[in-house]
Amino acid sequence: MTNATASGRERVNYLNAGYGVRSWLLTTDHKRIAILYLIGVTVFFAIGGLAAALIRLELLTPAGDVFQAETYNKIFTTHGVMMIFFFMIRGIPAVLGNFLVPLMIGAKDLAFPRLNLLSWYLYIIGGLIALWAVVHGGVDTGWTFYTPYSTVYSNGWVVVTAVGIFLAGFSSILTGLNFLVTIHTMRAPGMTWMRMPLFCWGMYATAIIQILGTPVIAITVLLVAAERLFHLGIFDPAQGGDPVLFQHLFWFYSHPAVYIMILPAMAVISELVTAFARKPIFGYKFIAGSSVAIAVLSFLVWGHHMFVSGQSVYAGLIFSILSFMVAIPSAIKVFNWTATLYKGSISYQTPLLYAIGFIGLFTFGGLTGLMLATLGLGIHVHDTYFIVAHFHYIMVGGTIMAYLGGLHYWWPKISGKMYPEYWSRVSAWVIFIGFNLTFFPQFIAGYLGMPRRYHAYPEEFQVLNVMSTSGASILGIGYLIPLVYFFWSMRYGKDAVDNPWGATGLEWQTPSPPPTENFPETPVVTGKPYDYVTAREEVAVG
């Protein structure tokens, strides 16, 4: 075993263990794969973000005067496909999860390191194929691929996109499988289930959804592709197929997929709140249990996407009540985070700003979700900008805030450098303000009746759209700032100490950045997590 305790900068860590391209592209180190994912995820986010900018540009004026209608449709499809399948679903699990799960449970790596690398390649290849399809060929179906438009009427490269999504789905399955097996079999001595950090619980719950849901979208997109290629009729009403069946199969995955996006975010927030309040998390068991409850319940609510689709009204009733039920574990989490802050020792560093932003935006976004689950109201706001606003509050206000918060929090561990505190606070505020200015007006536009996926819209919605577009410009700048200073800090940032926040957790007990083997010696866990009182002496040293 390498001697990783040699002091100073010359210490061998996972970053300087090898420099060649091969040492990165053929690595099986979960930390390096996390970096590979970070690069991939950032690129796809940038592409999706560019598409978002073009959408907002077009919607600045009511007339569809910037792009052709068809081009606009291709742009919003690009935005959806890139953001959902290649950024949101992968973002936190693939980057932070990959980096942290073994560290947090005291393992040397994930259970299947080569599979982990394979899943990155599948992700990148799938992403490039999908990118090629949406940019070169153009796909105009929206990310939802509703039949029979996608199977019979669209002229876009649906089949190629389907292949890309299938590969990304396979990659997502392999990541989830790896996490499940790792968490089950590779915990360090003494790391019992109830001593596991909440981040790992969140990843565990996420992995369950990835395993159980993703195969269904995989077969669904395959059927869509087969239908286009061979003129099968499984979803084609002309041959007796039912388009609503496609929606069932699609949402059986795609609703839980929303939780693939938000559960990891909640997992990050649980870590941030307790670290910056220096206080054990309030209601550990309830937060952990609610993650698993959400994972299971999320599979029972998909039909709330279909209230106006012509599904049976009784099915609508069942899906509505179950959708409300899934709100409860989410509420439990929010209350517990808030209670954790009570009598804490709260430090306003950037990660906490993001966490607080998350709690606020997620609470608001989640509550607006109740409006969508409410049958009588959901009918009116379905497929309007109200929906768009709601899920952006959850996805952007929730997941991206948490992702950035987590990235700031663990950046010292990942890179061994500190990010600039001043600029990071500025960016947190810019993002928060820009975000609200972008998406809050969309709630109003939606209730007023502006349908989504409109290339041109009636003039009465213009004021709200101008607000939204101006907010989006601010938001865009907000996202560029961290991109710049993270790069900057890799070269010029201050060296990070092992535990810059005085946080508990095994990942902070190993050097920053960690050695390839993660821990000089296999750690032994003796107590419950987030035990700041016991850890006080170490904090004083740190």
Partner: protein
């Protein structure tokens, strides 16, 4: 400044808006509560010394129960209230004006029973329920009138039904809400809600063509439906007069309400639900009759049933052990 609500122009609008306001109140209350607590805690308990550690606050099972039960109670209220409004929107009254809608990329065709056709425009009287029977010729569309607070997907391969009762004369947007292809955002139109007097004037102006039912009757003969579904005894198929609105009994022992969905299914997939006492000999007409033709045939078959008394007998769903009506002619 833009308004915050669309106009309230249907009988649903007040109910939906009241529900919305209740949910806004809940949303605002909890958002502000959480927001205020977070801010207050963040200020009050800010870290004073770098090595400071919080004193442990013990977990409280009682608190966990409280904040599980309160949201649970609240969502139950939302559910039942929402379901009530939902049923108002999904169950049309029996005595409505009938409008037949055909959606196609990228236009709405709206037909009145007297054969009057409109394109992307619909004239209806105020204060009278209007029922839409909708079919799509290609992809999924969605009939959405914000001022009326309802929408309904128009799914190809079946009839979709919706209804509304306008309460205020005026001109309101009709949108397609489900993405339907390149010119999705051009698939918009207007609903003209008119006073009864204006509506009568509009009705009397212009010529109305052939009524839907008589167009359907022609198709009935064209497709030779009448050779089997005749009135005379010993026809190979059941007589269709008085079928619509009746509860019919299937070979499987099931009973069904003969509504538009049933009539349509019996044309395109006749083997799916076989009427008791008739062999499965009818061929499928799937792909052989256009959507418009199906609407006309349905209108014709409906016209063979006596008009119900308003709010009448038709609204009752099939009871578990229904009154046996003979399904034979």
């Amino acid at each position: 400044m833009t308004p915050l609500f669309p106009e309230q122009a249907s009988t649903f609008a007040h109910n939906v808006d009241a529900l919305y306001l209740f949910l806004i109140a809940v949303t605002a209350f909890f958002s502000l509560l959480i927001g205020a607590l977070v801010v207050v805690f963040a200020i009050k308990y800010r870290r004073k010394a770098t090595d400071e550690v919080a004193l442990e606050v013990h977990e409280s099972g009682l608190l966990e129960i409280v904040w599980t039960v309160i949201p649970f109670g609240l969502v139950l209220v939302m559910f039942f209230w929402g379901a009530k409004v939902f049923f108002q929107i999904t169950r049309p009254p029996a005595d409505s004006i009938e409008i037949y809608v055909t959606a196609k990329q990228w236009m709405w065709k709206l037909e009145h029973t007297d054969g009057r056709r409109e394109m992307n425009e619909l004239h209806v009287p105020v204060g009278q329920p209007v029922r839409l029977t909708m079919a799509s010729e290609d992809v999924i569309h969605s009939f959405f009138v914000p001022a009326f607070r309802f929408k309904r997907d128009v799914v190809p391969g079946r009839f979709s039904t919706a209804w509304f009762e306008a309460t205020k004369p005026g001109k309101y947007h009709l949108f397609c809400a489900e993405f339907c292809g390149t010119r999705h955002s051009n698939m918009i139109g207007w609903i003209y809600v008119m006073t009864p007097a204006d509506y009568q004037a509009w009705l009397s102006g212009g010529t109305s063509g052939e009524t839907l039912a008589s167009a359907g009757a022609k198709r009935f003969v064209e497709q030779a439906c009448n050779t089997c579904h005749g009135e005379q005894k010993g026809s190979r198929g059941p007589s269709l007069s008085g079928l619509y609105g009746r509860t019919v009994r299937m070979q499987s022992g099931q009973t069904l309400a003969a509504d538009e969905a049933y009539i349509r299914e019996s044309i395109v997939n006749p083997q799916a639900k076989l009427l008791e006492g008739y062999p499965p000999i009818m061929p499928t007409y799937q792909g052989l009759i256009s959507e418009e033709g199906l609407l006309q045939l349905t209108a014709y078959i409906k016209s063979l049933s006596p008009a119900p008394a308003s709010g009448g007998a038709l609204a009752a769903p099939p009871a578990p052990s229904p009154e046996r009506k003979s399904t034979k002619p």
